[in-house]
C-alpha cells in the first residue's frame, strides 16, 4: 500500500523503493504511531469531522493493530514504505473503509514528527534512569573509598594528593550536567507538531491544546512551517548523548590507565573484562575501551545529523528521513553502555596500598610553597624556592622528603622544621577544606549534596537491566481503553 499515487502513471523502481523505504528504521515507532493515531481519531471526533462511532471503530481497530504488533503477530506487506503506511494499511484490513478517514487533515510530515518526539521523550526518561544508576554506583563507591588517598594527576603527571572519593565524584557532576541538559531538551521535545499537516496547518478545526493534553505534550508548535521541518530536538538529543559519551570516555580512559600493571590502582572484575584469543595471561578492560570508542561514534552521529540539516530549504524535505537512525543508535548505545559502566564501577577492586604508595613527597611541593606563603613569602618567590628544592632532590637522586632540614636551608633559610613536616605528609590533604576541595570534610559535604540530587544505587538487577522494550509499553493501559 502506498498513501499516494493517484496522479502517478508509472511504478516506482524497485531499488528506488528500497532507498525510499524507512520501515526498517521507523517500525520502532509503531507504538507511538498508534498512540498518536488514537489521539488524532478522538480529536477528529471532537471537531465533528468524524462521528463518535467512527472514532470508536478506529480506536478499537488501532488497539487491535497494537496488540498484533506487541504480540509479534503483525506482518508487513510488500508496499509498506513506512510504519505509518503499514499501520493504516492494517487498520483498513481490520476496520474497513472507515480507516480511510483516519488520515483526514493530517500529513505524514506532522505525524512522523509527533511520533518521533513521543518516542524520544520516553527514551530520555530511560536514559535519565540509566544515568542515575551510574551516578549511584559512583556515590556508593565514593562512600566506600571515602578516605582513600591517591595522586591527583594533571597532564597525566602526578600533581597533588586527592581522595579517590573526590575523583569518583568528579564524574558524578559531569553526569549531573548531562541529566540537566537532557531534562531541558525533553521540554523542547515535548512540543507538539500535530495539526500542522503538510506545512500549512490542518484544514479542519482541531483543538490542538486538547490534543496535546491527550498525548502528554507540554506545548504546541507555534508555526506549522517550522513544525514540520524542525529537527532541533533530535540534534539536541544527539549533542546531549555525545557529550555524555565524552564524559564516559574520560572516566573510562582514566580507569584504563589506573588498571594498567604500572599504575595498579584498580582491577576490573572478571564480569566486566575479557581475554585474548592468543595471549593466555591477558585480562582486558574492554568495557572501558568500548565506552571510549563509542564516544567517537556518538560524535559522528551528531555531526552527521547536523550536516544533514545544514542548508536545507524551509519546511519538510525528504533529507529529514535521515534523522531517526542516529537517534535510535545513540539511545541504544547509551542504554547498554551506562548500566555496563555502573556494573564496572560497582565491582572494580580498589588497591588502596598502591594508591597511597604512589603519593610521593614531590606531590607536596605546593603545600611546601603554601607553607612559605603562610610565613609571608610571596607565592611567586616560594614557588621558585621550592622548584630549586625539587631540582636538588632530582640531582641527588632522592625523594624530596629525604632531604634534611639543613639541605632545605641551603636553598633558603625560610625552610624551617615545619617545612620538613609538611614533606613528611603528616597533614596530607588537611588544608583542602575549601568548598569543592579534596579535604575530607569538603568531600563529605559534596557527597551529601550529590545524594540530595537523588543518585542511588540500582534497586535491583531487574532495574538495571530494564529492557528497552518497556519504553513502548508505558502507556499501553491508555491505548487499551481509548477515551469514550
Amino acid at each position: 500500500m502506498k498513501l499516494w499515487g493517484g496522479r502517478f502513471e508509472g511504478n516506482i523502481d524497485p531499488l528506488a523503493m528500497r532507498l525510499n523505504a524507512s520501515l526498517a528504521v521507523d517500525q520502532r515507532l509503531c507504538d507511538v504511531d498508534i498512540r498518536g493515531s488514537v489521539a488524532w481519531a478522538r480529536a477528529l471526533a471532537r471537531a465533528g469531522v468524524i462521528a463518535p462511532a467512527e472514532a470508536e471503530t478506529l480506536c478499537a481497530g488501532l488497539q487491535k493493530v497494537w496488540a498484533e504488533f506487541n504480540g509479534g503477530a503483525f506482518r508487513y506487506a510488500a508496499g509498506d514504505e513506512d510504519i505509518h503506511t503499514a499501520v493504516e494499511r492494517r487498520l483498513g484490513e481490520i476496520a474497513g473503509p472507515v480507516a480511510g478517514k483516519l488520515h483526514t487533515g493530517r500529513s505524514r510530515n506532522d505525524q512522523v514528527a509527533t511520533d518521533f518526539r513521543l518516542w524520544l521523550a520516553e527514551a530520555i526518561d530511560v536514559l535519565a534512569l540509566r544515568l542515575d544508576h551510574l551516578q549511584g554506583a559512583l556515590t556508593a563507591k565514593a562512600e566506600a573509598e571515602l578516605e582513600t588517598v591517591l595522586p591527583g594527576y594533571t597532564h597525566t603527571q602526578r600533581a597533588q594528593p586527592i581522595l579517590f572519593s573526590h575523583w569518583l565524584l568528579s564524574h558524578y557532576w559531569a553526569l549531573e550536567r548531562d541529566q540537566q541538559r537532557l531534562a531541558q531538551t525533553r521540554a523542547r521535545v515535548m512540543t507538539m507538531p500535530l495539526g500542522s499537516a503538510a506545512l500549512a496547518g490542518t484544514g479542519f478545526p482541531i483543538d490542538r491544546a486538547a490534543l496535546a493534553a491527550d498525548l502528554g505534550f507540554e506545548s504546541i508548535a507555534p508555526n506549522s512551517v517550522d513544525a514540520v521541518g524542525d529537527r532541533d530536538f533530535a540534534a539536541e538529543f544527539l549533542f546531549d548523548a555525545a557529550l555524555a559519551g565524552i564524559h564516559l570516555s574520560r572516566m573510562a580512559d582514566t580507569l584504563i590507565l589506573y588498571s594498567t600493571a604500572e599504575f595498579g590502582f584498580v582491577e576490573m572484575s572478571d564480569a566486566y573484562s575479557t581475554g585474548s584469543s592468543i595471549m593466555p595471561q591477558k585480562k582486558n578492560p574492554d568495557m572501558l575501551e568500548l565506552a571510549r570508542g563509542k564516544a567517537g561514534t556518538l560524535l559522528g552521529m551528531l555531526t552527521g545529523l547536523l550536516a544533514v540539516l545544514k542548508g536545507l530549504p524551509s519546511a519538510y524535505d525528504k533529507d529529514l528521513q535521515e534523522d531517526k537512525a542516529p537517534v535510535f543508535a545513540a539511545f541504544d548505545t547509551l542504554d547498554v553502555l551506562l548500566p555496563v559502566l555502573a556494573g564496572t564501577v560497582a565491582t572494580m577492586r580498589v588497591n588502596r596500598e598502591r594508591m597511597r604508595a604512589a603519593v610521593d613527597a614531590s606531590l607536596l611541593a605546593t603545600d611546601l610553597a603554601d607553607h612559605l606563603v603562610k610565613k609571608g613569602v610571596p607565592f611567586r618567590q616560594a614557588h621558585g624556592l621550592v622548584g630549586r628544592v625539587v631540582r636538588k632532590a632530582l640531582e641527588a637522586g632522592v625523594s624530596m622528603d629525604q632531604l634534611s632540614a639543613a639541605q632545605l636551608r641551603e636553598v633558603s633559610d625560610q625552610f624551617d622544621d615545619e617545612a620538613v613536616a609538611v614533606l613528611s605528609g603528616a597533614s596530607l590533604l588537611a588544608g583542602r577544606t575549601v568548598a569543592g576541595g579534596t579535604g575530607l570534610d569538603s568531600v563529605r559535604a559534596q557527597l551529601a549534596k550529590a545524594r540530595e540530587h537523588g543518585a542511588h544505587a540500582p534497586a535491583s538487577p531487574d532495574d538495571t537491566h530494564w529492557p528497552a522494550r518497556h519504553i513502548d509499553q508505558t502507556h499501553s493501559e491508555d491505548i487499551m481503553h481509548p477515551a469514550s
Copy 2:
C-alpha cells in the same frame, strides 16, 4: 617571564615555545583576567592571606594594567606565554614584589576556566541581542507582508498556499529556540571554578561563595577535579552556535532560491549584494551564501572541540588549550552574521505579484480533497479522486482550475460546483485557522505572541553595530574602583 621554571635546567625550544604559547588567542581574555584577579586579591585579603593594603596595591596595579591594555599602551614581552603571565609580569613591573602574592592559592587551571566563563557569559549576552534584532527584522517584515500569499514548498515543490508572514515567522521560532538554549547554557557557564586551584582545591580558606558573588557567578563548581577539566560549557556554546548557524543556513538557502530569476519572489538590496569581476550583469546574494557556508564551518568548530575532549584523562590536560580558538571564532562569526542578515531581511524587496502568480490551482488539491471529506468521502478515497483530477489536468495540459465541472465529474460525481469554486482560489487560506496554521487570524495571533517574546527591531544603527569591544568594557567601572 614564565610562571614556572625553578625545577628546570634547560630552556624551552623556540618552536616548542611557539606551539605552547596561547597569547595570540587568549589575549582577548585580558579584561576578564584582570577582573578575576581583582576579585581574587580581595578574596585573599578577606581570608587574611594577604593584608588589606596589599590587596589595595594589587588592585590599583591591576587597574593600571587594565588601563594600559584598553588604551592600547600595553606591550607584550618575549616570554609572555599567555595572557595570565603577561598580566602578572606587568603587574610586577608596576606594583613590585607584592605582585608575587597575587597567584597565591591559585593555578592557571582554575584561573583560565574562570576567565573563559566570564568572557563567554558576556558573549552570549551579545549574541542574544543580535538574535533579538534579527527576530525583530523578521517580525517587522512579517507585519509588512502580513497578507502576502506565496506557495509553501515541501521537497522544494509547490505544496499549498501560505502567507509570507507565516514563512518569515517560521524562522522567528527557530531563533527563539536558540535564545532559549543560549540562556540555559549561560546558566551553566556561570558556575565558578575559581578556588579549585590546580585540581585539589586551594590550600587557603577562601570564601568561594563571596568570591562568586563578587564576580557575578551564579554558583560554584562543586568538585575541584571536575572544575579544572570541565569544558562542557564551551562545547554547549559551540553546539548552540552551530545550530543557530544551521537555522540561518536554512533561511538563507530558501531566500537564495526565492531571489533567483526563476522564482523572482524577493530581491536583496544592493547594500547586501555583490557583483562579479567578469560578468557585468551579476548581482549575487553573497550574504546569504556566506550564512549558509558558515554553518558548515561552525559545525566543524563544534566537532573539533568535541573530538579534543573525547578520551581525555580526568582533570586538566594541555589539550584543553584548544578550547578557546573555536569559541572565539564562533562568536565572531555570529556577531557579524546576525546583524548582516537582519539588514538583509529588513531591506529585501518583496515581489508580491510574482509570489501570488506562483500560486497555481494545483496547490489547492488538498483543499479540494478536504472539500470531499466534508461531504463524507473518506480522506484516503478523496485523495485518490483528486489525484486522478491532477493527472487529468496534466494530460490535458491545462491548469486544474481550467477543468470544467463536467470534466471533474468524469472522475467522480462527488465533485460539485463548490468544488470548482475551491479550485478558483476563492477562499484561499480560509480554512487554515488552526493554532499555528497559515490562516490570517492564526498568523496575527502568532505575531502577537512573537512580540510578547520581546523581539523588536533594532533601536538604532549603533545598536545593531554594537562593537564587539563593548563586551570587555561592561564592568570597567567596577574594576576602576576595587572594593575597599
Copy 3:
C-alpha cells in the same frame, strides 16, 4: 564458545557480553574470514607447524562451514561473541580437535584486520562499477542533450549560457576523481596484516609473502605493531565515500532546483519520484533529496571513525571494534544510491524549451564586454560600461537586447552594431572553444575523453542491480578447492 577464559574465574555479565559482542556487525565478514583461515591453514602447513593432512582436514571443514553459511544453514551459538569465534566453534564441531590448531600463531587482532581488508577491497570494486554506471548515465544523457542550451549559474544566479551536456559532464569528472581516490585507497587496503599476531609478529616461521599471494594482497604490512592498530584504510574509504556523497549531493541539489515548477528544466520520471499522503498533486524528487541527505550521514560516519581513532594508544585497542559498522553502512548507502541516481538521470525528461527560454540577454553581458575588449577597450573599463548598460535596461524595465544601438551608445560610443548582434544571441557560445569550455567542439572533445576513461551505460538491468551478496561469492570457487 569463547576463545579465551582459562585465567578467568567469574563469568562475564550478560549486558557486558552484549556490549562486547560484535557478531551482529561482523557476521558479514564470514566469507572472507573463512578464506583467510583457509589460507592460514595452508601457511601453517607450508611452515611445517601442522601436517599437510591436518591442513586438508581444516580446509575441508572450513569449506563445509562456508557452505552452511552461504546456504543459510549456519546457526550461531549463545557464546559466539564474534564471527571468528563462531567459525572456529563450528569448525571444531565438524572437524574435531584439529580445529584447535587453526588459531596457532594467529590473533584475532591480525585476523580481523585481514578479513576487513579483504572485504573492503571487494566492496570498492563494486562501488567502482556503480560509479561507472552513473558516469555512463551522465555521458549518455550528455550525448542526447549535446546542443541543449541553458543558463549556467554561479551563486545560483544566471551567469552565462552553457550546454546542458557540459553541465552533465561536470559531474562526470567529479566522479572520476572519486574513482581515482578509491583505486588508490584500494592499493593501501590490500596490505596484509596477517602474521602480525597480537602485535609482536607470529611466533612461527610463516612465509608471509606466499600467504599474501594466496589471498591476493599486494604487499605485507612492514611492522606488526602498526599492522594490528592501523585503520587508515577504513578512514580513507569513509573519506572517499563521504566525498563521493558530497558530489552526489551537489548534483542532486541542482537537479532539485531544476525540477521546481519555477525552473521547470527537468522532470524526474515517476519511477524515481514519490507523492504525498495529503497533497494529491505532489510529485517529489525524493531520490535526489535522499542523495543530498545521505551525504550528511556519510560525513558523520567519517567523523565518527576519525574521532574513535584520535588519541588511541599504539597497537590494538578495543575501541577499534567501532570501525566496521560505519564502513559497512557507507558501502550500503552508496551501493543503492549510485544505481538509483543512474536511473534517475537516465530517465529524467529534459525540457529544452524552458532551458533555452531562460537564457535571457543579460547572460551575454560578458560577451558584450569581451566584444569591447576585442576592439581594444581594457576589460576593466569594458566591464564598467556594460554594467551601466545593465543598469540602463533595469531602469527601463526591459531586457538588454531590447535596448537600441542608440541607447547603447548613450553609455559609450564603443558600442557598435555588432554589439547589438552579440546581445541578440546570434553567436551564443561560439567563443567558448577553449579546452574545457562550454563551446560545442570543446564539449565534443570532452565527451570523447570521458568515454576513453571507460564510462558506459549499464549493460543490463541485472548489471545495475548487482546484488551486494555477490561480493562474498566471488572467490567461492577458490575456497571450494583449497590448494593441494
Copy 4:
C-alpha cells in the same frame, strides 16, 4: 577598489563588506596570485589578446607589486575586498590603464582556485619535508635503541615483549602512508582551473596547456563548470592532515603514558616540557598533549569544509570562500607540530632499565603456549592450559616464572623443563623473526627498508626550522624575470 559595481546603485553595508571581505585570510595568496597573473599576462599575449609590450608592462608592474609585498612595503586600501582586488588595484596605480587588461577573459572564480592550488602544492612539499624529518628522528632513535626491550601493550595491558625500536618504527610507517597520500593529493591539486573563467570557459583563445606548463601544473581541468566549483583538493588535503594528526596523537598519547611516574619509560627533555604555575615539582609533556589535542582540531577543520561543500549547487557559490581558512590553519598546525615532535623524539631520554624491568614473566604466556604447540598440543588447548598456569600464579600471588616445574606439571604434564626456561625469558623475542615481527633481525631489515624510503635526520637546525615564508619565495627568481 571593487572589481564590480557598474550595475549597482547603492553602496554595500559596512558590516556586509566586512563579512564579505576575505583579505585577512587570502592575503597569504599574494605571491601565487602574482605568479598566476604574470602567467596569465603572457598567455593573453601569446593568444594575441594583448600586445607583447603590454604584457611586458603588466609583468614588470606585477613584479613591482610582488617586491613591495615581500619587502613589507605593500599597503592595503579601504576597498580591497580580497587579495586579487588589492593586487589589481596596486598594479593600476603602478602601470596605469593597461592594468585594466589583466583580468581579460578571467574571473576571480578560476583565479582564486588557481592561486589556492599553487599555494597548496608548495605547502604539501613543506609538510613532506617536515614529515621526513620526524621519520628521520624516529629511525635515528630506533637505531639508538635497537635492542631495547619493553612490554608491548594491547588494550593498554602488557601483552608481549617487543623492541622499543620496533615500537618507534611502527609510527614511521603510519607517517609513510601520510607521505603517500599527500603525494597523491598533490597530483590532483596540480590540475589547472585557469581558463575556466566564471564557469563557461574563457572567451579568448588561450592555450591552456602552455599556460599550465608555465605555472607548473601537471594537467588542465577538463570541464570549466567543475573547475570553478571543485574543492576536492582542499578537502583531501584536510583529510590527509587530519589523519596525520591522528597518527601524531596516537604516538603522543602513548609517550604521555610512557612518561608518567608509574611507567617511567621515557622522560621528555626540558626543551620540550613545561612546568606549573602553582606546583613547583611539575614537568609536563605539553608538546605531546598539544599534538593529541590538535588532532581533534584538525578533524574539525575537515568536517567543517565537508559540511560547507555538502548540498551546494553546481559551479561557484560564495560558500566556497570558507575553504581557505581551514586549509591554512591545518598547514600551520602541522608545520610547527611536526618539527616540535621531531625534537621531542630526538631528545627524549629512554630508561632502558625501567622498560626491561616491566617485562615480567606473564608476557611470555604466549611463548609458553607456542612451546606446547611445538610439542603437538593444539593451540586452543595450549591456550587453556597456560591460562590455568596464569591463574595459579595469580592465586599464589607470585610471578609465573616463580612457579616450579612441579607446579606447572600440576596443570599439565606437557610442561617440561624447557617450559620453565621459556618463562625465564632466556630466549626473549627469539621467535619473532617473521617479516614485520619484533625479532631483532626483522627489525634490522625493517630499519633498512625505512632508510631506503629516504627518511633522514634533519641536516641542520635551519633545515628543521625552515620558515613558512620560504614557500612563497621559491619561485621568486622566475617572477623577477618574466618570460620575454
